[in-house]
Amino acid sequence: MRSPAPTSTWKSVLFSHEGILLLVLVAEWVFFYHFGTSINRRGIVVGFGTVDRQFDILRHSCEIGLLALALTPIILTAGIDLSVGSLLGLCAILFGMFWHDYGMSIPLAAAGALLVGLLGGSLNAVLITRLRLPPLIVTLGTYSLFRGLAEAITHGAVTYTDFPASFLFLGQERWHGLPTQAWVFFAVAALMGLLVHRTTFGRSFRAIGFSPEGSRYAGLPVERRLAMVYVIAGLVSALAGLIYTARLGQAKADAGTGYELFAITAVVLGGTSIFGGVGSVTGTLLGVAAIAVLKNGLACLPAVMRMNGAEELSGMLTGALLLVALAGSVLPKYLSNWRASRHSARSQPQTPSAA
């Protein structure tokens, strides 16, 4: 057995992951402020550097932010949920259907959509905890199932629109100075922060992520805690679906397609280990901000710099960012392992594996 090499501590002392990420975020912001802001013919500042644009970024990051918050405890337990984006779409569609086709009031339809989210999350939870199936393949199945149901319900064509202004207020207006949905996002972030960092639940998520068997022997109700994180994720995905619908004023079957990638990227970028056990909600929030600034900033750049495709470019860069963040997270360990193996090879010259 190879014993874990002693971690080099000077790096972790000098820079916390969140600290580095904050620097990256500031650098990113300054870059886009410099290249993405311009003054139009009437002498008005347009582009990235305006206050409105900052509110826009906040508004646009709420849905992916909510999914990322939902994924943080899951990834802390070394799990994964690929179905959050599909569940967002299904809940958005069902909300529209409850309201439009069944004549429910908006609050009732919203409650219905949240209930569906809860059920969707529970389906994942039951399959993962009762049958002990791997989260990856379970949520891959529900990823397909939820999206498929949304498509089947709408025949791939129906779009629900014409929501009342009182509902659109949630997604398109401001309340006390900030975009309305930002308050929801901050509230969920605060609750999630409390749950993960200030309660024994959060501690048990980490413990399960480090070692599920060890947690079981320590007397933690591992199955119940795991079920909890997936159910919460379902509920939060439904909430994100409502906000998505309110922001765009329409519910379509393809709502939230690919959001799971951005959410997972935000979480991993935020320093939560994909192997479980390590991570923070603050990190996730910074990760969400970094992705949102990238996405919006690219759209503000002159066409030459974004190669005529801000959406595609931001998707591509987000994927690349995820790889860099992952590689960055293992590189110190990899290097120290390599150094340790070289060191042991040198101290024991008789071993033949000194390549």
Partner: protein, 309 residues
């Protein structure tokens, strides 16, 4: 319980579906549409062979759909520049090998989790392709179609070569040392290492092979039509993983066979035409595929609990 119980139960489900179709919709059994179906699914089968290996060694690759698109468009562009068909095919394999090696490097050398790595490469490749190609189709020269064969000969050749590949993989996985290494690494990495197998080497090779097979599948796809759609491979990963999982290959590694995957693929491939013949809207396809995946893993979970394996 019988060693092949899992494969046989899927085969039973397939037989049931086929029998039902024979009674309700005999129109399903016409040679020409069936040949077309087989030709359409031949590239999927090739990718699924690679995916079987990837999953047996306890990894996953969800970037195959994007790899498929990149290889198709890349090879298509070369063909449009007048490269001869043989070189175009080789180039597609080469593109696949490079993309597979990239994934393999990140997974095997840097030891990153394959699900996240390939999620990232899936999106980066897809969006990069969209950025460069802007959704434009690539027009192919006539010489590339069916490699110059008449259409039905070309279709038969395609299906036959996919089946030969399947048989080769079945034999190699079962009887070659390299095939046994894949199982060894998937069932217990540490034991495999102690037995002298390099798990990282095996994983890297499997990812490269996955890429090469995806390139081959892309070639088999572009010779079927006069144009390459940049979106041609989207959703392929899900279809292929579904076939592998339904066919009884354990996602936890070390267990399963190419034959199981083949039966799973046949079952899933018959769903879409079955829907048409049973007059069910095609929009249900994704939901039904998701349900089949869940049913298959639930079945495995229940059996695993009872049998303790």
């Amino acid at each position: 319980m019988n060693r092949y119980f899992r494969e046989l139960s899927v085969a039973g489900a397939l037989a049931l579906l086929l029998a039902m179709l024979a009674i309700v919709a005999p129109a399903f059994y016409q040679p020409q549409p069936l040949l077309s179906l087989a030709t359409r699914e031949a590239p999927t089968l090739v990718v699924a062979c690679g995916m079987t290996l990837v999953i047996i060694c306890r990894e996953i690759d969800i970037s195959v759909g994007s790899q498929f698109s990149v290889c198709s468009v890349g090879a298509g562009l070369l063909a449009a520049h007048g490269w001869p068909p043989a070189l175009v095919a080789l180039a597609a394999l080469f593109f696949g090998a490079v993309l597979g090696a990239f994934n393999g490097f990140l997974v095997a050398v840097l030891r990153l989790p394959s699900i996240v790595v390939t999620l990232a490469t899936m999106v980066s490749l897809r969006q990069g392709l969209n950025l460069l190609q802007q959704g434009e189709f690539v027009n192919l020269p006539d010489s590339l179609q069916w490699f110059g064969l008449p259409q039905s000969d070309g279709q038969w050749t395609l299906v036959a070569s996919a089946l030969v590949l399947l048989a080769v993989f079945a034999v190699a996985l079962r009887h070659l040392a390299a095939g046994r290494f894949v199982y060894a690494v998937g069932s217990d990495t540490e034991a495999a290492r102690l037995a002298g197998v390099s798990p990282q080497g095996v994983k890297f090779s499997v990812f490269v092979l996955m890429g090469v097979l995806t390139g081959l599948a892309a070639t088999m796809n572009i010779i079927q039509s006069p144009q390459v759609q940049p979106l041609s491979g989207s959703g392929l990963e899900l279809k292929v993983i579904a076939a592998v999982v339904v066919g009884g290959v354990a996602i936890s590694g070390g267990r399963g066979s190419v034959w199981g995957m083949f039966v799973g693929l046949l079952l899933l491939a018959c769903v879409s035409p079955a829907l048409t013949h049973l007059h069910i809207e095609a929009y249900w396809e994704k939901a039904i595929q998701g349900t089949i995946i869940l049913l298959a893993v639930v079945g495995d979970g229940l059996r695993g609990r009872k049998g303790g394996g």
